[in-house]
């Protein structure tokens, strides 16, 4: 930030200091055949011996022959130095200088394109300052003294070097390409004879012409213009667009050739005063390090950089568009149209969009050189950081966007069956990372008003993350976001299946699925492209059958529940699910049975640093008591007993936090009686998954949530039934949490005679049949399929309708963990424990922070919500964040330091609040403690530290909330009466003191009393509307 201020201050001073410099325009000799007059002019000056600096190509083409013989005829001894290389080196200059002195020359003719001209200027500078080396004259105003008479004869159109203060040279020792800049270097006379350019091959015509255009545009959009430079730049742009293609197509078109020379010359006058910019910095580094021709580099790079500048250059580009009569209704449209025209011109002349010869290892040093050249000198519209330069270099390699991403997002319209490209806004990847963050941004930008879940306009956004395939442990997760049929709000539904990796391999960061198909379809994505196929034979099939039928690759499928629009239907990927919020129903509404992505490609290579971090991270996870012992051995099911003793186990529709038969459904029982082995998501060393016996088969075993919501919540002590139901829920494609919550509510409605549905607590015998009725929406299943909120609207019982914002709660009874209660109330997708910040892991499960106090809970909740938001967006499983809790504390609950830490943590609320809102102070990485931001930095080669990571999480949290507000959310951060009202509870039963915590929570978040982000906070996060 400070650096940018310095740059702008420097440029400001330079701009105004420049007014006192001795600017001049060369004396111009122009016209067809005007070269004949040059010897006469030289002779009039009394010069008897002159050095002609050129290159071997020109000599072999004989372009200079006539001039040389005319000079000799005029009595002027002509020493010819023809060894200038395309990017002239200091060696060239010194050799030519030797020749100058040996022949006692009194003047220099630069004959050729930019290279001989720069070489000649270098020679002139050395003559003017014999005691200074070229290296010492690098930069601004290091020559000062008058050069010997310098005549610039242009054979290209061109660098404009005949009019400029700069000589760009390559230091062969250091491979640096840098500029000497001094008005003393401006040639004294310039010769523009179009006959010299007639023989230019088309590709040279094209690239040198685009070089001229780049000069003009970079000058024009920069911050250091004068009226003259603006006028000259405009003239150049007009001349190029009117003449370059003509000269390219027919080299003999003298008028076009002459106009192009004029264009180059004016461009030179413009940029020599108004400077060039980041395009040139990028091109110079390529020239110096890889020998890529200057004009070609500029031509290819120009559209990328103009694009990256975004709104900063709409106005000047629109003015140029007007000059060229390019239409557009807004400045933005005109600017984009102009950039498009530039790309078209490149394409028509065979100039590519990428450059050969760049390899990934070069990019850090290329970016560094470009950065140092541009800053602080060039008055660019947007100051580029090293990573901004790196981004361009990656695209020049043909790799879109940044590493860690493919740069491609496909929009699949099911109504029209058309596939199109979706373009993110600049910095979207930087600001939203990926996963749920990117999805929220896409949905926010795509929808501009409220949308119904079951509507054509509701998009399904499937996003991957930069750590996917980056060999970070437990980080292959992907996300499905849409407007939920359960809540009417944004739901982001995370999944540990392998679809995300397959999608990345197939070349896509994300998919956006819009519209509605008239018939059941599935989408296939492979190296041939994206196509829709008939899915009628798969319709009605279970998730495992449908996946089988889709063949090879990573898949997403829905089961019957999604087809029948069960409001909490899920999407399956291998044996994992995108469980919550009814994303499966939106698939079903769109008649989309599933998606399969199959590709033989691999995800981009990783650096050695990533590998080293990966090893350390895995070791850390393996040595941590939660991720290395409890989760692999017992899975999440270990929590049943822990929750029981802490009074956190939702029982009988949350009437209580303890279940007398908990041992029948505990993780220990599961391990002893049912477990075959553990399993894990792809790339995960934790492996918390369960494989259990069911009948003769081995199936996926239940998670904690399922044991709670289908067990204690229904007073169901039959583990076999829970295992079976878990299996069937997966096959039908139904969220076990919402199903359990809905059934529990239905049971209480029955018990209280509000709805006669025959379902009773403790009776598990009918649950399998009930599940089928729900999946097929038959009988009482039809009502239960709509979820708790809808059932309450229909049958009453609102006080014990256990949902928040329409989403059924997880298995934690928050009356014994105040922070979790706040989390449930505030989670953006509804009653979710994970999106809510999962403070319960601090409040009794992993650590023992006092669950009954509200002190510090708001700060802890905000902090962990945002941290987890960012971890999910990066692609990591949230269990990796548990390993952030120091192992020494978790393993030793009884030691003094642990008890002290747990006691003190609530009182650190103020500090956490401060750090969260001043995340800039956390601008560092501590990979041993929190590997995620560092891993993202290594995977994307872009800056990311702890502070930025948390800020990104906060930004994502806020943009999700903005989507929700647009969807109609106001004052939605509540809890069901049962959890906070004394009226509906047993005397003495604990309650969640929500209102108190909520006030604090809003204050920390910078939201108003209705849960709406304030303008000030949005501005801080870069989310001004």
């Amino acid at each position: 930030m400070l650096f940018k201020v310095y740059c702008r201050a420097f440029q400001f001073i330079m701009k105004y200091a420049a007014y006192v410099l001795p600017w001049r325009k060369p004396v111009l000799l122009e016209g067809e055949g005007c070269l004949k007059e040059l010897p006469g002019r030289i002779e009039k000056k009394g010069i008897k011996s002159i050095l002609l600096v050129t290159d071997s190509t020109i000599m072999s083409l004989g372009l200079a022959d006539t001039l040389i013989s005319n000079l000799i005829d005029a009595g002027i001894d002509t020493a010819v130095y023809d060894k200038t290389v395309p990017n002239p080196t200091i060696i060239n200059i010194e050799e030519a200088l030797t020749m100058y002195h040996e022949n006692e020359c009194k003047g220099i003719i630069a004959f050729g394109g930019g290279s001989p001209m720069d070489c000649a200027k270098g020679v002139g500078a050395r003559v003017a300052r014999p005691t200074k080396s070229i290296r010492q004259m690098k930069g601004l105003l290091k020559v000062i003294f008058r050069l010997p008479p310098l005549y610039a004869v242009a054979t290209t159109a061109g660098t404009g070097s005949e009019a400029t203060v700069a000589a760009v040279v390559v230091d062969s020792d250091t491979q640096e390409k840098y500029a000497l800049m001094d008005p003393a270097l401006i040639p004294h006379e310039a010769v523009l004879d179009p006959l010299l350019t007639v023989g230019l091959p088309p590709i040279v015509t094209a690239t040198t012409g685009m070089d001229a255009l780049t000069h003009a545009i970079e000058a024009y959009i920069g911050n250091s213009n004068t009226n003259q430079t603006r006028a000259m730049a405009k003239e150049t742009v007009k001349l190029v667009f009117e003449n370059l293609y003509k000269a390219f197509k027919n080299g003999k078109n003298i008028t076009a050739r002459a106009n192009m020379q004029r264009a180059a010359y004016y461009g030179g006058i413009a940029f020599t005063r108004a400077y060039v910019g980041n395009v040139h910095a990028i091109a110079h580094a390529l020239g110096g390090k890889l020998g890529i021709a200057h004009g070609l580099a500029n031509a290819v790079v120009l559209p990328y950089v103009l694009d990256d500048y975004g709104a900063a250059v709409y106005k000047p580009l629109a003015e140029l568009a007007d000059l060229l009569e390019i239409p557009g209704s807004t400045a933005e449209k005109k600017a984009k149209a102009l950039i498009s025209e530039i790309s078209n011109l490149n394409t028509r002349m065979g100039i590519p969009e990428t450059l050969e010869g760049i390899s990934e290892e070069d990019i850090p040093s290329l970016s560094d050189h470009a950065y140092k050249e541009a800053n602080p000198t060039y008055p660019v519209p947007v100051i580029f950081e090293r990573e901004d330069f790196a981004s361009v270099y990656y695209r020049l390699m043909g790799k879109s966007g940044f590493p860690g991403y493919t740069g491609k997002i496909a929009n699949i319209n099911l109504t029209t069956s058309k596939v199109s490209k979706f373009t993110l806004q600049k910095d979207d990847l930087k600001n939203y990372v990926g996963g749920k963050g990117l999805a929220a941004k896409i949905i926010y930008s795509t929808l501009d008003s409220k949308v119904e879940a079951f509507s054509e306009e509701n998009p399904i956004v499937i996003t991957t993350s930069p750590l996917n395939g980056a060999h970070a442990p437990s980080s292959s997760r992907f996300n499905i976001s849409t407007i939920s049929p359960l809540t009417g709000l944004l739901v982001s539904s995370n999944c540990g299946g392998d679809f995300g990796l397959s999608l990345r391999r197939a070349g896509y960061d994300a998919l956006i699925i819009s519209g509605v198909s008239s018939k059941p379809k599935y989408i296939k994505i492979n190296d041939k492209g994206i196509r829709l196929y008939d899915a009628s034979s798969m319709w009605g099939k279970s998730t495992s059958e449908a996946q089988e039928m889709m063949g090879l690759g990573g898949k997403l499928v829905i089961g019957q529940a999604g087809e029948n629009l069960v409001r909490y239907a899920c999407v399956a990927s291998a044996e994992r699910v995108s469980g919550r919020g009814g994303v499966g129903a939106v698939f079903g509404y769109k008649n989309l049975k599933g998606i399969v992505a199959d590709s033989k490609s691999t995800i981009a290579t990783i650096s050695d640093d990533s590998k080293a971090l990966n090893i350390k991270w895995i070791s850390h996870l393996r040595n941590h008591p939660l991720t290395g012992k409890q989760l692999p051995k017992l899975g999440t099911s270990a929590l049943v007993s822990m929750m029981q003793y802490n009074g956190l186990l939702a029982t009988k529709n949350y009437s209580s936090g303890q279940y007398k038969d908990f041992e029948s459904i505990s993780g220990e029982t599961l391990l002893e009686n049912h477990l075959v082995k553990n399993s894990g998501c792809v790339s995960c060393p934790i492996r918390c998954g369960r494989v259990v016996k069911l009948g003769g088969a081995e199936v996926k075993g239940p998670e904690l949530e399922t044991l709670g919501l289908l067990g204690s919540n229904l007073c169901n002590n039959n583990m076999d039934s829970i295992i079976k139901l878990n299996y069937l829920c997966d096959e039908y494609g139904i969220d076990t949490i919402s199903f359990g919550g809905s059934v529990g509510f239905a049971m209480e409605l029955n018990e209280k005679r509000l709805w006669n549905n025959g379902l009773n607590f403790g009776d598990s015998s009918s649950l399998e049949d009930l599940l089928k009725l729900v999946a097929t929406r038959e009988g009482i299943g039809n009502d239960i399929a709509d979820g708790v909120k809808e059932m309450a609207e229909k049958y009453g019982g609102r006080e014990f309708a256990m949902h928040v914002k329409g989403m059924e709660l997880a298995a934690y009874d928050p009356r014994a963990a105040q922070g979790m209660g706040l989390g449930y109330a505030t989670a953006n997708r509804g009653g979710c424990h994970l999106n809510g910040g999962y403070t319960v892991v601090l409040e009794g499960l992993g650590l023992r922070v006092n669950g009954s106090t509200t002190i510090g809970k708001a700060a802890l909740t905000v902090f962990f919500q945002d941290l987890m938001e960012a971890a999910s967006a990066a692609g990591s499983c949230l269990f990796t964040t548990y390993a952030v809790l120091p192992a020494a504390l978790v393993k030793n609950p009884n030691k003094f330091f642990t008890r002290a830490a747990c006691f003190l943590l609530p009182y650190m609320g103020g500090l956490l609040h401060f750090l969260h809102n001043h995340a800039g102070l956390l601008g560092l990485n501590l990979p041993h403690m929190l590997p995620h931001p560092y891993a993202v930095k290594l995977a994307t080669r872009r800056n990311m530290n702890i502070g930025q990571f948390i800020r990104a999480g906060e930004r994502i949290y806020n943009i999700e909330r903005l989507v929700n507000i647009r969807q109609g959310l106001t004052d939605g951060d509540t809890l069901p009466d049962r959890l906070k009202s004394p009226l509906r509870n047993k005397p003495g039963q604990k309650l969640v003191a929500l209102d108190k915590m909520l006030k604090k929570y809003y204050r920390i978040r910078g939201w108003d009393a209705h849960g709406k982000p304030t303008k000030r906070r949005l501005k801080k996060l870069g989310l001004e509307q």
Binding site: Q630, A638, L639, Y645, L671, L845, K891, N894
Partner: protein, 83 residues
């Protein structure tokens, strides 16, 4: 003095030691109960850091002299996390 007959219930990592998860033992204090569990083969370092609940009430592990009565249940747990 008569020894109280109490139930020790092992949960979490403590339960994975190759022996029964629930045992009936003779012990008058928490300390004695823990000793017996150790003798049964339960990991001693885990026992030292076990979370203890006597009849659902949390009891600090260091209170080894906490008195047990006939029919009491002592639950021993280890920290956990999940989803």
């Amino acid at each position: 003095m008569e020894m109280a007959t109490v139930k020790i219930k092992l949960f979490g990592l403590l339960s994975i030691y190759g022996g029964p998860r629930t045992v009936s033992v003779q012990a008058n204090t928490v300390g004695e109960a823990l000793k017996i569990a150790g003798a049964m083969g339960v990991d001693k370092s885990l026992l030292k850091e076990a979370l203890i609940f006597v009849n659902d009430r949390p009891v600090r592990n260091s209170r080894r002299t906490y008195k047990l009565n006939d029919g009491d249940e002592i639950a021993l747990l280890s920290p956990s996390g999940g989803g």
